[in-house]
C-alpha cells in the first residue's frame, strides 16, 4: 500500500525544481503542515510566504507576486481556497490572468467527519466556471508529479485538487503515461465507458475488473484534466459504449458529470449516469465509509453499470 499522499508528491517536485528556478515561491495560509510543504519552508525560507489564516490574502498576494515574475504555488484546504477566496481567484488570478497555481489540499471529503465547512464538493464547479482557469484532479502520486512538472512549464492559472490521504498507485514510477490535457485510457471495453477523476479513478478501475468477471467490458478514462476536458477522449469512449458513467468526489451539479454530459449530449447521445456526492451535507464518517455509503466505490460503480445495462446486480 502506497504511503505517499499526492500533496507530498507536489512538495517533492517543487523542492527539486526550486534548486534550479529561484522564481518558484510557495504560499500557505497556516497550512504548510497539511500541505506537506514544511520541507520546502525549511529548504527555502526566503521563497516561502506565510500569510496566516487569510485565504483571500493568500490568493491576492500570489497574484501580485506572479505579476512580478514569480511562480507562486498557493496551498490551502480546497474547501477554503475554492469558496472563501473565490472572488480573489476570479479577479486577481483568472481575470488578471496571472501565473498562479492554486493547490487545493485535503480536497473533496478528505476531512471526513469534520463536516461540510471542511468539504470541497463545489470546487470543480466554481473553478471551472472561471475563464482562463484550468482544473485538475490527479489520481495518484506519479500523475500528480507529472502534472506539477507540466504546470511549472506554463504561465497560465490553474487549480489543482488533491486529497489528504495517500491513495493506492494507479501508475508506476517508470510507467505513468501523461500528456497534458489528455485523459489517460486505463482500460478498453465496448459495454460501458467509466470516466472518473481524482480519487475516484481507483474504484472505477476496480469496478471494471469486477465487471470483466461477468463478461462486461468497460473503458476507463482517468480524466485528471476536468478543464479543459478532453472532449475527444470522451466522444471516442462514449461512441464505443452503450452507457457512460461518470464518477467524482463532488456535488452532483457542475462537475465532471455535468461537463461529460454536455459533450456526450452534443456529439454522440448516450445514456449518461453521473455518480457523485449527494446534494446535501454528507453523512458523517471516514472517506471510505462515506464513499461506500453513496456507492462511490468499486462495488457501487459496478452495480450501477450492471443495473443500467439490464443485468441482475451482483
Amino acid at each position: 500500500m502506497n504511503k505517499v499522499p499526492n500533496r507530498q508528491a507536489i512538495c517533492d517536485v517543487l523542492l527539486e525544481s526550486a534548486r534550479g528556478d529561484k522564481n518558484i515561491v510557495v504560499l500557505c495560509s497556516d497550512s504548510r503542515g497539511s500541505a506537506s510543504m514544511t520541507p520546502f519552508f525549511e529548504a527555502y525560507p526566503e521563497r516561502s510566504i506565510e500569510v496566516g489564516i487569510a485565504e483571500q490574502n493568500l490568493i491576492s498576494i500570489s497574484a501580485g507576486m506572479a505579476k512580478c515574475g514569480k511562480k507562486p504555488f498557493a496551498f490551502s484546504p480546497a474547501s477554503f481556497l475554492s469558496t472563501r477566496s473565490y472572488e480573489q481567484a476570479k479577479i486577481d488570478v483568472a481575470y488578471s490572468n496571472t501565473n498562479v497555481k492554486l493547490i487545493g489540499i485535503s480536497g473533496g471529503i478528505s476531512y471526513g467527519a469534520l463536516g461540510m465547512s471542511h468539504h470541497s464538493a463545489q470546487d470543480i464547479a466554481v473553478m471551472s466556471a472561471l475563464p482562463n482557469m484550468r482544473v485538475y484532479l490527479p489520481s495518484d502520486r506519479f500523475q500528480t508529479a507529472k502534472l506539477i512538472s507540466a504546470l511549472l512549464e506554463d504561465t497560465k492559472p490553474a487549480y489543482v485538487r488533491v486529497g489528504r490521504n495517500a491513495v493506492e498507485d494507479i501508475y508506476g514510477e517508470a510507467d505513468c503515461p501523461f500528456t497534458m490535457d489528455k485523459a489517460t485510457v486505463l482500460s478498453d471495453g465496448g459495454d460501458a465507458a467509466i470516466i472518473a477523476c481524482g480519487e475516484m479513478v481507483r474504484p472505477a478501475l476496480e469496478a471494471a475488473d469486477q465487471l470483466r468477471q461477468h463478461g462486461i467490458y468497460a473503458t476507463v478514462l482517468d480524466m485528471y484534466c476536468v478543464k479543459p476536458l478532453d472532449s475527444e477522449a470522451v466522444i471516442k469512449a462514449a461512441e464505443a459504449a452503450k452507457l457512460v458513467v461518470t464518477v467524482e468526489e463532488h456535488a452532483p451539479f457542475g462537475g465532471l458529470g455535468s461537463m461529460v454530459s454536455q459533450v456526450v449530449g452534443a456529439n454522440c447521445p448516450r445514456k449518461v449516469i453521473n455518480m457523485a456526492l449527494p446534494d446535501s451535507p454528507v453523512i458523517t464518517g471516514t472517506s471510505k465509509e462515506v464513499f461506500s455509503y453513496y456507492g462511490l466505490d468499486a462495488e457501487g460503480i459496478a452495480k450501477t453499470i450492471m443495473e443500467n445495462l439490464g443485468w441482475q446486480a451482483m
Binding site: G52, Q56, N57, G64, M65, C68, Q88
Partner: protein, 278 residues
C-alpha cells in the same frame, strides 16, 4: 507644481468628456482622486510607455477601480493611448476601454473593479520585488468606503508583518460613498490610529487635493525604512466640479446634464487658468 495643478484640472475635463459622451462613469470619485494620480504619475513613479515591461518600473494598482475615467485620462496624458480614443470609445460596444481597469490595456498592471483587491495584490508585488532586491516602489489607491472590505485588513496585517517599506498605500478619504457619508454607512473614525496599530507609518494629508501637500507626503514616505506607509489624503468628492458637485454623494455616478456639463467645464477652466497664473 502649478503646472501639475493645472494638468489635474485639464485632465478632469477629459474625464467629464468621457462620462458625458458615454452616459456612464463615477465622476465624484474621479474628481476626488485626480490630484493623487497626477502626483503619482507625473512626479513620483518611474512609469512610461517606454519602460512598461521593465521589471524595475514602479508598480501601481488602482484599487478603487471605479475611478477608471481619471486613470484613463492620466495614462493617456502619459502617452499610453490617445485620449480622443478613450473619449470616443469609453464603455461602447466592443471597446477595450471598459468601466473598470483591465490589464489588456497598456500601462495597467492588474484588473480591478470589486473592492478590497488592490492592497493585497500590492503586498505580493512588494514581497516579490524585495525578494529580487529591486529598488522600485509599489503604490495603490483605495477609496475610504472600500475600507469596509475585510480583505483590506488582511493586507494591512501582512504589510506590517512583513515590514514592506517599498509599499505605499493611499486612501482617497473623501468621506462619501454611494449611500451617504462613510461615517453613517460604516464608521472609519480614528482611521490613522487603526492603521498604525497594524505597524504602518501613517501620514495624514489635510488637503488631499493639494499637489504640494501630496508631494511632501510621498517624499516623506520614501524615507521610512522599516514599515509600509499609508497616506490618508483628505479629499473632496467631486473636487473642482464647483458648487453643484463638490461634497455631494449624489454625484457618485451621476451623469451631468448639458447645463451641468457647461457649468463644470467652466469651473475647471477657471481653476486651470488660476493654477497657471500662480
Amino acid at each position: 507644481m502649478s503646472k501639475l495643478k493645472a494638468k489635474a484640472f485639464a485632465l478632469r475635463q477629459d474625464v467629464l468628456d468621457m462620462i458625458k459622451h458615454s452616459g456612464s462613469g463615477h465622476i465624484g470619485g474621479d474628481f476626488s482622486v485626480m490630484d493623487i494620480l497626477v502626483e503619482l504619475y507625473f512626479q513620483q513613479m518611474n512609469v512610461s510607455p517606454e519602460n512598461r515591461d521593465d521589471p524595475n518600473r514602479d508598480l501601481f494598482v488602482l484599487s478603487k477601480g471605479h475611478a477608471v475615467e481619471s486613470y484613463y485620462a492620466v495614462l493617456a496624458a502619459k502617452g499610453f493611448f490617445p485620449v480622443e480614443e478613450v473619449v470616443e470609445n469609453f464603455s461602447v460596444f466592443g471597446s477595450p476601454f471598459i468601466g473598470h481597469p483591465n490589464n489588456k490595456l497598456p500601462g495597467i498592471e492588474m484588473n480591478s473593479g470589486s473592492l478590497g483587491h488592490g492592497l493585497p495584490v500590492c503586498i505580493g508585488m512588494a514581497l516579490a520585488c524585495r525578494m529580487d532586491n529591486r529598488s522600485n516602489r509599489i503604490y495603490t489607491v483605495m477609496g475610504d468606503g472600500e475600507l469596509a472590505e475585510g480583505s483590506v485588513w488582511e493586507a494591512f496585517m501582512a504589510g506590517g508583518h512583513y515590514h514592506l517599506a517599498n509599499l505605499c498605500a493611499v486612501i482617497d478619504r473623501n468621506g462619501l460613498q454611494i449611500s451617504g457619508t462613510t461615517e453613517e454607512v460604516m464608521a472609519q473614525e480614528n482611521l490613522a490610529e487603526r492603521i498604525r496599530a497594524f505597524h504602518w507609518n501613517v501620514i495624514n494629508v489635510a488637503d488631499g487635493n493639494d499637489i504640494a501637500e501630496l508631494d511632501a507626503a510621498f517624499e516623506a514616505a520614501k524615507t521610512v525604512q522599516d514599515r509600509p506607509t499609508c497616506i490618508i489624503a483628505h479629499t473632496v468628492k467631486g473636487y473642482a466640479g464647483g458648487e453643484i458637485m463638490e461634497g455631494k454623494a449624489a454625484w457618485h455616478h451621476k451623469v451631468p446634464t448639458d447645463t451641468e456639463y457647461e457649468q463644470i467645464s467652466a469651473e475647471l477652466r477657471r481653476r486651470k487658468e488660476a493654477a497657471e497664473n500662480e
